[in-house]
């Protein structure tokens, strides 16, 4: 469990709190989407969860380890993996295999174990055949997968994607999210998706909305989509699919409460 207890955070040199008295917990094996507009504090929240930032007040506990101590931060970082937005700026080695091995090397594992975990992680994201490829010859989508494999190889209990898919094209993004959903299901990996794009909530069990450093919603995505006013006041838009469904409903077409695909809506129209 990642547990934030009345956490506030102020950036050094700033006179404004980026997060104001947040209390929230992320239990294991859950898929959560944290949404909010730019500047809402969602990335700050993410970076508090693995001790990259330390709370100005309050406490952050990861499986009981307080990030305020050096040892607690280490335990938190081992458990909470994090993928950032620009994969180019998070890779340190010149080839795929060596880069994915960077995290496991930091954990001090022996060579046999590193080999096993790295190969496994590459397999999991489907880029085993790229193991010896130089990073700079990969496509942007492949680079994202390398960044993801680099974190998965460390066997985290939780994975935070800090706007990690925003720069991907729609198809690649959908396939990355599907793959994450599978890994979440099969391995019981806790996944926290930080995003300003509501369509990334499609696979989440739970939605959390941040606005101006405050928590303003915590519940199921389905419930959230029924609150367009709350979304609008937080500067967010419901996913296009839900907007379309709402529009159709207004026109008197009978549509399901929770549309999953565009085909579903097309079928309703055809009826």
């Amino acid at each position: 469990m990642i547990f934030l207890d009345d956490v506030s955070y102020r950036y050094p040199g700033s006179d404004r709190l980026a997060l104001k008295g947040i209390s929230i917990s992320f239990p294991p094996r859950e898929m959560v989407g944290v949404v909010g507009p730019n500047g809402s504090g969602k990335s700050t929240l993410a970076r508090l969860c693995n001790g990259l930032y330390l709370p100005t007040s309050g406490r952050v506990l990861v499986d009981g380890h307080d990030t305020v101590s050096r040892q607690g931060r280490w335990e938190a970082r081992r458990r909470v993996g994090m993928v950032f937005q620009n994969p180019d700026n998070q890779m340190v080695a010149t080839t795929v295999w060596r880069d994915v091995a960077f995290g496991p090397e930091n954990l001090g594992w022996d060579r046999a174990e590193i080999r096993r975990r790295v190969d496994e992680a590459l397999e999991l994201v489907g880029i085993r055949d790229l193991a010896s490829a130089p990073i700079h010859l990969l496509t942007p989508g492949q680079r994202h997968l390398v960044a993801l494999a680099g974190v998965l190889a460390m066997k985290p209990s939780y994975l935070i994607l800090d706007e990690a898919t925003v720069s991907l094209d729609a198809d690649t993004r959908a396939s990355v999210l599907r793959m994450l959903g599978d890994i979440h299901q099969q391995r019981g990996l806790g996944v926290i998706i930080i995003t300003h794009d509501m369509s990334e909530l499609a696979l989440a069990d739970r939605a959390v909305v941040l606005d101006a450093g405050r928590l303003c919603f915590d519940g199921s995505p389905r419930e959230l989509f029924r609150k367009p006013d709350l979304l609008r006041s937080a500067g967010l838009e419901p996913p296009p699919l839900h907007q379309l469904a709402a529009e159709l409903r207004r026109l008197g077409v009978e549509v399901p409460e929770e549309p999953r695909t565009i085909e579903e809506l097309v079928a309703c129209l055809a009826r």
Binding site: N89, M91, M154
Partner: protein
């Protein structure tokens, strides 16, 4: 030339292969290279230099790298060396006051001493060039950085942060293509504003260089912030307690190579000491 900045800028010249040289342990490559280079730096004389030149040529043939490829790089250097040789002859009077005069140019006096010193330089530089080419053509730079870290590991016990320094090299090599892309963007932006980058004299070139190089420098500090966070998120906390994902293994071939190189080096030292030319 400057328009050709591409993300395929390569710095290593490694050509994969399975020659005897390629198959050596990277530590053997680096260590024998170091031995040969330091011999060249200390020993002086035609006999040892020709011996080492012969050995370098044998290695070149063993590496199965096209000889023409290596010599193509040496040719422009030979011109500069020839010019340096001429300078050395012309200005040699003061270094060899007791040598007879070859000819005079104004107040300068050319001597045979200058001719010999220049010839030895050309030989030494040529052998150094061959050896460096052989090393970088048969081994990857990251591999060599790893090998260097392992060979110097006794220094780590004295507190030298070798693991960190090897990581610095890796990051530098990793980011050359990324920064090349960045530079390419900057060059294109300048060109689209009508700048002609490869024309003009010194001042013009210097003035046009600033809007390319300064943003390039500034861009790395944004990247640095991202990379620091990413490395810390991936549990980096310095070289202590880190393990290494790669290992090298010495083979019988490495022992053979070490013996041969030691013999050549010993011969070069002996001939350099005993033969007065």
């Amino acid at each position: 030339m400057m328009m050709e900045v591409s993300r395929y800028v390569t710095i290593g010249r490694y050509v994969p292969g399975d020659s005897v040289l390629h198959r050596l342990d990277p530590r053997t490559k680096l260590l024998t290279f170091g031995l040969l280079v330091s011999t060249l730096l200390v020993v002086k004389g035609y006999v040892p230099y020709l011996l080492l030149l012969g050995f370098a040529v044998v290695l070149l043939l063993l590496s199965r790298i096209p000889v023409r490829y290596v010599l193509a790089g040496l040719r422009p250097a030979l011109w500069v060396l020839a010019i340096l040789w001429v300078f050395q002859i012309i200005f040699s009077g003061s270094s060899y006051p007791d040598h007879p005069t070859l000819f005079r140019l104004g107040s300068w006096r050319a001597t045979w001493g200058g001719v010999h010193a220049g010839a030895l330089n050309v030989l030494r530089i040529s052998v150094l060039y061959l050896l460096t080419s052989l090393l970088t053509l048969t081994a990857g730079l990251v591999e060599l950085a790893d090998a260097g870290e392992m060979l110097l590991s006794p220094l780590a016990r004295l507190g030298v942060p070798l693991n960190e320094v090897a990581l610095v090299f890796t990051i530098a090599l990793r980011f050359v293509p990324t920064l090349a892309e960045e530079l390419e963007r900057l060059v294109k932006a300048q060109i689209s504003r009508g700048a002609r980058l490869d024309e003009g004299g010194f001042l013009g070139r210097a003035r046009r260089l600033i809007p390319l190089v300064v943003p390039l420098f500034l861009s790395i500090f944004d990247r640095a912030e991202d990379l620091i966070l990413a490395m810390e998120a991936r549990c980096y906390r310095g070289g202590r307690g880190r393990s290494k994902a790669v290992a090298f293994a010495f083979q019988p071939l490495d022992a053979l190579a070490a013996v041969v190189v030691l013999a050549v080096v010993a011969a070069a030292w002996l001939t350099g000491l005993m033969l007065p030319f």
